[in-house]
C-alpha cells in the first residue's frame, strides 16, 4: 500500500495557490510562446477574410476540411469536463477531486475554441449570426431555419458553454474567498467581487452543494446533446453515404468522452510536472482515470466496429469504395493504421498494467496518443466520405490542407492551452475546497494486519 502524506489545510492553501500568488518566471515565457501561436492564427484568419475562403484547401466535393475536423475534435475534448465533474460527483467517486476543475476549465476553453471554427469555416463569417438563434435578420424579417443542424449546433454549444461556465464559477466561490483573503490591491477587489460575500457558513455551503448537484444533473442532457448534434451535422445528410449512419450520435459522444478524458489526463500530468503537485494529483488518481479510460475506450471501439461493419454489410458499391479508400488507399491507409494503433491498440493494452497506470510519464504519452488517434478518426470520417459521396464518380475528388488551415489548427491548440494556463494563473486549478474535503473525509480501515484506505461517505 502506498503511503499518502498527511496534508494540513495550510499545506493545501500554500501548494495549490502557488501558481496564483507566486508565479514562476518560466510561466510567462510559456504564455508568451502560446500567445505568439495564437497571434499567428489570428493573422491566418485575417488573411483568409481578406483574400477569400479560397485560401483553405477545400474544393468541390470536399467542402468541409480540416477546420471542421478540428471543430469536432475540440467539441470532443470539451466533453471531459462534465464527464468527470458531473458524473463522478453524482456517483460520489473520491478520486475525482483533483481532476474536476482542470476538466471543467479544459471544457470551457476547448468549447470556446471549437465555437470559433464555424467562424473560420464559413464563407461570410461577418453574417454568421444569422444562423445563431435568435439571429433575426431585420432587413428581411427572417429567423434562422430550425430544420438545419447548423442551427441546433450553436444552440447546444452556447447552452453547454453557459452551463459549464456557471458550474466553474459556482465551484470556484469558496476558493475565491480564500484568494480574496490572501491578495491585496486590485486583485483583492476583483476576487472579493467574484466571491460574492462568501463567508463559509453552513447555509452557504449547503446552497453551494445543492446548486452543484443540480447543475451536475441538469448539464448531463446538455452534454449528451452537444456531440449528438455535432454528429447530426454529418449523419442527417443523405448525400454522403459514409455519414448517413444511425449510430453516429452515441458513437460521437463516446468518442468524445474517450478523447476528452484522455485530454484531462494529459493536462493533469502537465500540471503535476509544472507545479510539482505530486501530493495532490497522485499516482492512484491516474490509476483510477486509466481504469475509466479502459472501459470508455472499449465501448468506443465497439461502436467503431459496429459502425464499420454495418457500413459495408449491405455491400453497396459507393459504400464499399469509400471504405476501401478509408482503409486501403494512400494516404488514408497509413492514417487508418496510425489511428487504430494510437486510438486503441497501443494505449489500452498498456493500461491493463498497474505499473503503466501509475506511471505519470507513460500516462501522459499514452493519452496524448489517444488524442492524436481521435483527431485522425475525425479526419478519416469526414474527408474520405466527402471525396466519394455518391456513385457519380465524375465528381469524386480529393483534398489537401492549405498552410492557412494548418496554422489555424495549430493556433487552436495554442489558444486552448493559453486559456487553461491563464486560468491557472488567476484561479486555483485544483479546487482547494474539494481537496480539503477529501483530506477531511479520508481515513483508514484496518482489515487484519493491513490498513486499507477509506473515505467517509455521506448519503
Amino acid at each position: 500500500m502506498q503511503l499518502r502524506p498527511a496534508l494540513t489545510e495550510r499545506d493545501i492553501n500554500r501548494d495549490l495557490l502557488r501558481p496564483v500568488l507566486a508565479t514562476p518566471i518560466w510561466f510567462y515565457f510559456l504564455l508568451g510562446g502560446l500567445a505568439i501561436g495564437v497571434c499567428t492564427a489570428i493573422g491566418g484568419f485575417a488573411w483568409a477574410v481578406n483574400h477569400g475562403t479560397g485560401v483553405y484547401g477545400i474544393n468541390r466535393p470536399v467542402m468541409w476540411g480540416f477546420l471542421l475536423v478540428n471543430f469536432v475534435f475540440w467539441v470532443g475534448i470539451s466533453h471531459a469536463g462534465v464527464m468527470l465533474s458531473a458524473i463522478l460527483r453524482l456517483s460520489n467517486a473520491e478520486w475525482r477531486r483533483p481532476a474536476t476543475r482542470a476538466a471543467e476549465v479544459l471544457t470551457i476553453f476547448a468549447l470556446g475554441t471549437a465555437a470559433l471554427h464555424p467562424v473560420f469555416h464559413t464563407g461570410r463569417p461577418w453574417r454568421i449570426y444569422w444562423s445563431m438563434p435568435p439571429g433575426y435578420d431585420f432587413g428581411r424579417g427572417i429567423w434562422p431555419d430550425v430544420r438545419s443542424p447548423f442551427v441546433w449546433d450553436p444552440t447546444a454549444i452556447s447552452t453547454y458553454l453557459t452551463g459549464t461556465t456557471l458550474f466553474v464559477i459556482l465551484l470556484l466561490i469558496p476558493d475565491l474567498a480564500v484568494l480574496r483573503d490572501r491578495s491585496s490591491g486590485l486583485m483583492q477587489k476583483v476576487y472579493g467581487f467574484l466571491s460574492m460575500g462568501w463567508k463559509g457558513n453552513t447555509r452557504q455551503w449547503k446552497l453551494q452543494i445543492i446548486a452543484g448537484f443540480l447543475l451536475s444533473a441538469l448539464i448531463l442532457p446538455v452534454f449528451v446533446s452537444v456531440h449528438s448534434i455535432v454528429s447530426w451535422d454529418f449523419a442527417v445528410q443523405i448525400a454522403v453515404e459514409g455519414w448517413h449512419a444511425t449510430i453516429f450520435a452515441p458513437y460521437f459522444v463516446i468518442g468524445a468522452v474517450h478523447s476528452g478524458v484522455a485530454g484531462v489526463i494529459s493536462v493533469l500530468a502537465l500540471l503535476r510536472w509544472m507545479f510539482r503537485w505530486e501530493n495532490y494529483i497522485r499516482d492512484d488518481h491516474f490509476d483510477a482515470l486509466a481504469r475509466l479510460m479502459i472501459v470508455v475506450a472499449t465501448a468506443w471501439f465497439y461502436f467503431l466496429v459496429i459502425e464499420f461493419f454495418l457500413g459495408i454489410y449491405p455491400a453497396e458499391e459507393p459504400e464499399i469504395s469509400l471504405r476501401t479508400l478509408q482503409v486501403f488507399e494512400w494516404p488514408f491507409n497509413a492514417t487508418f493504421i496510425v489511428f487504430l494503433l494510437m486510438g486503441y491498440f497501443v494505449p489500452v493494452p498498456l493500461w491493463l498494467f498497474r505499473r503503466v497506470r501509475q506511471n505519470v510519464a507513460l500516462m501522459f504519452w499514452t493519452t496524448l496518443m489517444v488524442n492524436i488517434g481521435m483527431w485522425l478518426e475525425r479526419f478519416i470520417i469526414i474527408i474520405p466520405s466527402l471525396m466519394r459521396k455518391q456513385p457519380l464518380t465524375f465528381s469524386w475528388g480529393s483534398y489537401n490542407p492549405s498552410p492557412i488551415e494548418l496554422i489555424l489548427v495549430a493556433g487552436s491548440f495554442c489558444l486552448v492551452f493559453l486559456g487553461v494556463l491563464t486560468f491557472s494563473k488567476f484561479f486555483p486549478i485544483i479546487p482547494l475546497a474539494d481537496a480539503k474535503e477529501g483530506v477531511a473525509l479520508e481515513t483508514h480501515v484496518r482489515v487484519g494486519k493491513v490498513m486499507v484506505p477509506a473515505a467517509y461517505r455521506e448519503e
Binding site: N59, G123, R124, W130, R140, I142, V236, F394, S395
Partner: protein, 239 residues
C-alpha cells in the same frame, strides 16, 4: 395563371454529343467567371451545367457516355432543409432557388447535394478586361463566400412572363428557353412546364426511356433523362 407552374427539363442522353455548347452558353448567360486551368486543377471550377463523361467497356472496346449534369431542382431537395438561414428554398414554380445575399457560406447544402451541382465562390470573381462588357445585366454577379447553382435561367423566365403579361397573352410552351437549351445543337435539352400536360417536356416525361438520376433517394428531381439507345451496348446501366 390557372395552374401553378413546375419548371422541368428533359435531357436526351441519346442526342447529346458532348459538345459543351450548353456549358459555354450557361457560362456567358449567368455571369460565371472564366474557369481557368488552375480552377479545374483545384477542383473549384464553377459550371452550372457540365458534361459528365463516363467511359464504358474495356479497352479497346471503349465508349464514352455523356451526361449533362445540372441542378435537378428536386421537389424534396435535401440541400434546402440543411441550410441554417433559408438561403436556399423552393419557390412556387418548382424552382430550387438560391438567395445570394442571404447565404453565409456554410457549404452544408453542397455536402448534402448528391449530384454535386452546387458551387462555392472561393474567390471574388474577376473577368478579363475584354469580357467586361459581356456581363449579363439581368444576372447579379456573386460575391465570394457564397453558394450558387443553376437557376433554370430564372431571369429569362421572369422576362418572358413579364413580357407576356404586358402583351396580354399566356406564356406557352417553348416561350421560355434557358441558355443551355437554346445553345444545344442537337436539341438534346428540352425545357418547359411539367404541370402543362401538352408541353414537350411533359410528353418526354412519359417516354419509355425516361429515368431520373439517383431516383432512389426520393428527392423527386425535376430533370428527366432519356436513356441512350445503343445498338452495341450490352445491357448495362447508364450513369
Amino acid at each position: 395563371m390557372a395552374v401553378e407552374r413546375k419548371w422541368g427539363m428533359a435531357v436526351d442522353a441519346d442526342k447529346c454529343t458532348g459538345c459543351q455548347a450548353c456549358v459555354v452558353a450557361c457560362q456567358s448567360e449567368n455571369n460565371i467567371p472564366v474557369n481557368e486551368p488552375d480552377h479545374f486543377l483545384q477542383r473549384r471550377a464553377i459550371q452550372w451545367i457540365r458534361i459528365e463523361r463516363y467511359w464504358e467497356g474495356e479497352f479497346p472496346d471503349v465508349r464514352a457516355r455523356f451526361v449533362p449534369m445540372l441542378c435537378q431542382h428536386c421537389e424534396n431537395a435535401p440541400c434546402e432543409s440543411v441550410c441554417p438561414v433559408f438561403a436556399t428554398y423552393h419557390n412556387n414554380e418548382g424552382l430550387n432557388v438560391q438567395v445570394y445575399n442571404r447565404c453565409i457560406g456554410t457549404r452544408f447544402c453542397a455536402n448534402n447535394d448528391p449530384w454535386n451541382v452546387r458551387f462555392f465562390n472561393f474567390w471574388e470573381p474577376v473577368w478579363p478586361e475584354t469580357l467586361r462588357n459581356q456581363l449579363n445585366t439581368d444576372v447579379s454577379v456573386r460575391s465570394r463566400g457564397i453558394m450558387e447553382k443553376c437557376t433554370f435561367c430564372i431571369q429569362r423566365i421572369r422576362r418572358t412572363t413579364r413580357d407576356a403579361g404586358l402583351e396580354g397573352r399566356e406564356v406557352t410552351d417553348g416561350d421560355v428557353v434557358p441558355a443551355c437549351v437554346q445553345a444545344c445543337p442537337t436539341n438534346a435539352l428540352v425545357f418547359g412546364d411539367l404541370n402543362d400536360h401538352d408541353s414537350q417536356v411533359a410528353h418526354l416525361r412519359e417516354d419509355g426511356r425516361q429515368y431520373r438520376i439517383l431516383d432512389h433517394l426520393g428527392t423527386e428531381p425535376s430533370v428527366y433523362y432519356m436513356a441512350k439507345i445503343d445498338p452495341y451496348a450490352a445491357e448495362g446501366e447508364h450513369a
